[in-house]
């Protein structure tokens, strides 16, 4: 079961990273949240401290996706879970990331205000790719997709990750 959770975590995390890129071009809520982050801001998200991090970067109010990196140095913000099972609860849409954060399950290395921004972005991305019921639960309101779920997933999976230095 743990291995299955590991595979799901890895797939969903990658999907979230790629979806950030697509949505940063299309979704007004994500655009607004991105405007709070400084230019060239970099963030890594992982299921546990010594795991693989998806790395994203803000450039010209858009998100670039750099794929997986092992414990990347010199990035502005690292966000990871205390245990992979805690990550699974969030990535398998059993619990919102906000709830996980308030339960002390999330560790942050970097500026907390920017971490809050990243959490809002992940919430919106999850609301896009998960069920309507989950979207309503995590955002406590009727969630309107500005691009369809199917279109988002198809475009995300066909997205090439950025090459070269972060």
């Amino acid at each position: 079961m743990k291995y299955l959770h590991h595979i799901i975590d890895k797939f969903i995390l990658s999907l979230i990273g790629r979806s950030c890129t697509i949505l940063s071009d299309r979704d007004s809520r994500i655009k607004k949240e991105l405007s709070y982050l400084p230019e060239n801001f970099t963030a890594g998200v992982a299921v546990k401290k010594k795991g693989l991090y998806i790395v994203i970067k803000k450039q010209e109010n858009k998100v670039k996706y750099f794929g997986y990196h092992r414990y990347p140095e010199n990035i502005d913000l690292k966000l990871y879970f205390k245990d992979e099972e805690f990550a699974y609860q969030v990535l398998a849409a059993k619990e919102g990331i906000r709830q996980a954060f308030s339960e002390h399950k999330v560790v942050v290395e970097g500026d907390l205000e920017y971490a809050v921004s990243l959490i809002y972005i992940i919430e919106i991305v999850e609301a896009y790719i998960m069920s309507d019921q989950f979207a309503e639960e995590v955002l406590a309101s009727n969630f309107e997709r500005e691009i369809s779920r199917l279109q988002l997933i198809f475009r995300s999976l066909s997205l090439f990750r950025e090459k070269g230095e972060i």
Binding site: Y36, K78, R98, Q99, F101, S102, E103, H104, K105, V106, V107, V108, E109, G110, D111, L112, E113, Y114, A115, V116, S117, I119, V138, L139, A140, S141
Partner: protein, 396 residues
């Protein structure tokens, strides 16, 4: 909306509280193997001879004047942390004593992080649970009952180069010992006593209604609320009364333990944002925002249930029984308004944001700042910009 079915609770701080509590310090320092502590405080506490009381209580240690840093400013910043850390290394100190309020305690936490993690740039440790080393022995002697910093696992340190407040949240920041001695807070005037009391009240109320509320933090928050309900007004009326002072010091400490574990919420987040954007006093902003934040949370059933307990703690059993079940939550807000009104009558604490100098034109900036305060993620419901705006409008 339901509360969490998982919680973490951490409070390893030894607490020596009561008359002559400082007399235990020699023994405690020996237990912690501290023979050369660095003492952090400020000029005012030196002038008020409060520092003298501390030094007299540890006379066995033969404190060198260089071991005392009297220049901690009103806001902890990287510069003073660096200076104090250098002094700590230079003198080969083996422990830290913070004598003062939140800024001094946060500075001491910064020094402890710098020394224990062996870093030159504290900014590298910004975030949650970034410290992993063994910490230096750390003693806190609070002089302003209210902040609860002596039992909090967080520190806010200003980076003057960017005027950013760096937040550090870590269980490693907790002191080994907090000494709550009434002699150290006696000098607080009524206005400041009221303001710090309201700070403790906000901590207790928010700890009781946040997403991470749990049976342990509830116990601390409830006990704190009971002490505040029974003693705050009396203390403001009679600031030299030892019994009331100790009760409020203990209330602040317990509220600090509670909110440190279950977190603060929307009131704190908006209060912090007002402080940052409009440069108003933290206590004043909280005093104004508290009833409006509580009123907003009445829309959540679980908050309503919590408020019944708050009514019980603040007003007692008789009042609870006499109040219809459906009115109890609202009456809890009313009880808080009652406390604030009386404090306003006694000391002139503010009730409107406009009164403390906040302008309506600053609302958008305040909302932006509050929305990105990590405590907001722990507030009841999923707080939206409109929620914060409604609080600000109501409080204006």
């Amino acid at each position: 909306m339901e509360t969490s079915n998982y919680f973490e609770f951490f409070n390893p701080v030894k607490i020596n509280s009561g008359e002559q509590a400082l007399s235990s310090l020699n023994y405690e320092l020996e237990q912690l193997h501290v023979s050369k502590p660095l003492i952090l405080t400020n000029q005012t506490l030196d002038e008020l001879k409060i520092l003298d009381i501390l030094v007299a209580s540890i006379k066995d240690l033969d404190i060198n004047q260089r071991q005392i840093i009297r220049t901690v400013p009103n806001q902890a910043n990287l510069e003073i942390v660096k200076k104090a850390s250098e002094r700590y290394r230079e003198l080969n100190c083996d422990g830290i004593i913070a004598l003062g309020g939140e800024a001094i305690i946060d500075t001491a936490k910064g020094v402890n992080l710098t020394i224990s993690e062996k870093v030159d740039d504290l900014k590298k440790l910004t975030g949650i649970e970034t410290a992993h080393g063994d910490m230096q022995p750390f003693i806190v002697v609070p002089t302003t009952g209210g902040t609860g910093s002596e039992a909090a696992l967080s520190a806010v340190i200003n980076d003057q180069s960017s005027n950013n407040n760096l937040e550090f949240i870590s269980s490693k920041l907790m002191p080994d010992l907090a000494v709550i001695d009434p002699r150290m807070t006696f000098k607080l005037p009524p206005r400041l006593t009221a303001s710090t009391g309201v700070d403790a009240l906000v901590h207790a109320v928010e700890a009781y209604t946040g997403l991470q509320k749990n049976p342990l933090s509830d116990a601390y928050a409830f006990a704190a609320l009971k002490l505040i309900g029974n003693n705050l007004k009396k203390l403001v009326n009679d600031v030299n009364n030892k019994k009331y002072r100790m009760a409020m010091n203990n209330a602040a400490l317990m509220a600090g333990i509670a909110f440190s574990n279950s977190h603060a919420g929307i009131i704190h987040a908006v209060g912090d944002a007002c402080e940052k954007i409009s440069e108003v006093s933290h206590g004043d902003a909280l005093a104004v925002l508290l009833p409006h934040g509580m009123f907003l949370n009445l829309k959540y059933n679980y908050c309503k249930n919590c408020y019944e307990d708050i009514l019980l703690a603040l007003e007692g059993t008789e009042k609870l029984i006499k109040t219809k079940e459906e009115d109890r939550a609202l009456m809890a807000v009313d009880a808080v308004v009652g406390i604030l009104s009386e404090l306003r009558f006694l000391t002139g604490i503010p009730v409107r944001l406009e009164e403390i100098g906040i302008k309506r034109s600053e609302f958008e900036q305040i909302i932006d700042k509050a929305m990105h305060n990590s405590t907001l993620l722990n507030s009841a419901g999923q707080v939206k910009r409109e929620d914060i705006k409604s609080i600000l409008e109501a409080a204006f």
